[in-house]
Amino acid sequence: MTALFIILAELALGKLGAALGAGLAAIGAGIGIGRIGASAMEAIARQPEAVGDIRTNMIVSAALIEGVAFFAVIICALVIFV
């Protein structure tokens, strides 16, 4: 059993986990901002004169979601480099 654990530790699964985590964070951000963009396009199509308001709110929401994704990326970078 300990031999199995030693082999697993040698594989440096921590770095693999960090890389997977960063990828999952990118997927999450992609899905979230994709949905924001989609609904923003739909809203602009329904009411073209509200383009300015919609654009501002879309950018703010995208920045907030990107902030959360960057959290995950920072944690993954910490795992790899510290």
Binding site: I59, V60, G67, F70, V73
Partner: protein, 362 residues
């Protein structure tokens, strides 16, 4: 005319790229003897370019480094106040006056104090003017130049049309007032917060934009340094806390929720308190990560050239440099957009927190 220029540039581009890549593949066997030193350490190169440093490194020509020395100010309990230029360290290789820059181990990157035998004694209080601090000074000088000028012009031309730089900055200032501060804070109380919001917006914007220019004295990665963004978020937190009223704390400690969420285990107060701490923390991480990611990607694309040079010879590096520079320019343009967006989002969220700090009683 444009057709000739366009066709000539396409021909040059194609010839350059193809020559580089095809010559690289044929000289792969012979270049093994000619490889001079070890592999190009891309990780170290990239991290050095985006972090803080005790001197401002400009270029490395062959073996000599060209860098601008910066003042080092140390205070240690044994030796008192020390003030000298970082050129005494000779690019971090020698010790001076009992101090040395550590390159490995626990204190990597910091200045340590040595006793007579050369052993590490302690860490002095480090108040040095590092590269990031110099970058802050440069952007502060630019901000003062711009805004003292704009303020003087605005005061002189009270009922006239704006002139000069006022034309550029007055719409932005009015945008921060009308579209960020007034909707978030409310008509009655927004004026008290306007100086802070304007300062934060332009400080972050100018630092972001100057960080993209690769020429000395610009190009210091100021907002990509977590200490700088931590201080900005700390200021937002302090201003929010000092402009609260009783209803704000009531909504945190005693919200209008069913009693079993508050007693015996105060679940809702704990959640609300973590919200109070998390909001400025997220501000800090968002700005830091966005700016750091931009600089990191550009540096990685540029270091691709050196990786190819060490791997496949100088011709491959020349070939790949065309693509690399194009991608870097594209990322830098994207970074300009991100600079504006991040400055705007930081200011907007700060204004929202100020507005939420004094809620009216329903």
């Amino acid at each position: 005319m444009t057709r000739i220029i366009r066709s000539i540039s396409i021909i040059i581009f194609a010839v350059f790229l193809n020559t580089g890549i095809s010559r690289a593949s044929e000289t792969k066997e012979t270049s093994d003897e000619g490889k001079s030193t070890e592999r190009f350490d891309a990780g170290k190169f990239v991290i050095e370019h985006v972090s803080d440093a005790f001197e401002w490194h400009i270029a490395t020509v062959g073996e000599t480094e060209i860098s601008v020395p910066l003042p080092i100010i140390l205070y240690s309990s044994n030796k008192g106040l020390n003030f000298f230029m970082s050129s005494r360290f000779h690019h971090g290789l020698e010790a001076y006056n009992g101090f040395r820059i550590e390159h490995e181990g626990k204190n990597e990157g910091k200045i340590v104090e040595l006793n007579e035998k050369g052993e590490v004694v302690s860490l002095p209080i480090d108040l040095s003017i590092t590269k990031t601090v110099t970058g802050i000074f440069v952007s502060v000088i630019i901000l003062l130049l711009i805004f003292l000028n704009v303020a003087k012009t605005a005061k002189r031309r009270v009922n006239q049309a704006p002139a000069g730089m006022q034309n550029l900055f007055e719409p932005i200032i009015l945008f921060v007032r009308d579209d960020v501060a007034k909707p978030a804070i409310g008509e009655k109380r927004y004026e008290k917060f306007m100086p802070f919001l304007l300062t934060v917006f332009f400080f972050i914007l100018i630092n972001n934009l100057l960080g993209l220019v690769p020429i000395f004295p610009f190009g210091a990665n100021v907002t990509g340094n977590i200490a700088v963004t931590m201080v900005l978020a700390l200021f937002t937190f302090l201003v929010t806390t000092f402009s609260t009223n009783k209803h704000y704390w009531k909504e945190i400690y005693n919200p209008d929720v069913p009693w079993w969420l508050k007693y015996p285990i105060p679940l809702m107060p704990i959640v609300e308190l973590t919200g109070v701490i998390t909001k400025p923390f997220v501000l800090m991480v968002r700005l830091f990560a966005n700016m750091l990611a931009g600089h990191l990607i550009v540096t990685v694309f540029v270091s691709l050239i050196f990786i190819f040079a060490k791997l496949m010879g100088i011709e491959a590096a020349l070939g790949i440099s065309v693509i690399s520079v194009l991608f870097s320019v594209f990322m830098l343009i994207l970074d300009i957009l991100v600079s504006f967006i991040q400055a705007y989002v930081f200011t907007l969220l700060s204004a929202l927190y100020f507005g939420m700090a004094s809620p009216e009683h329903h």
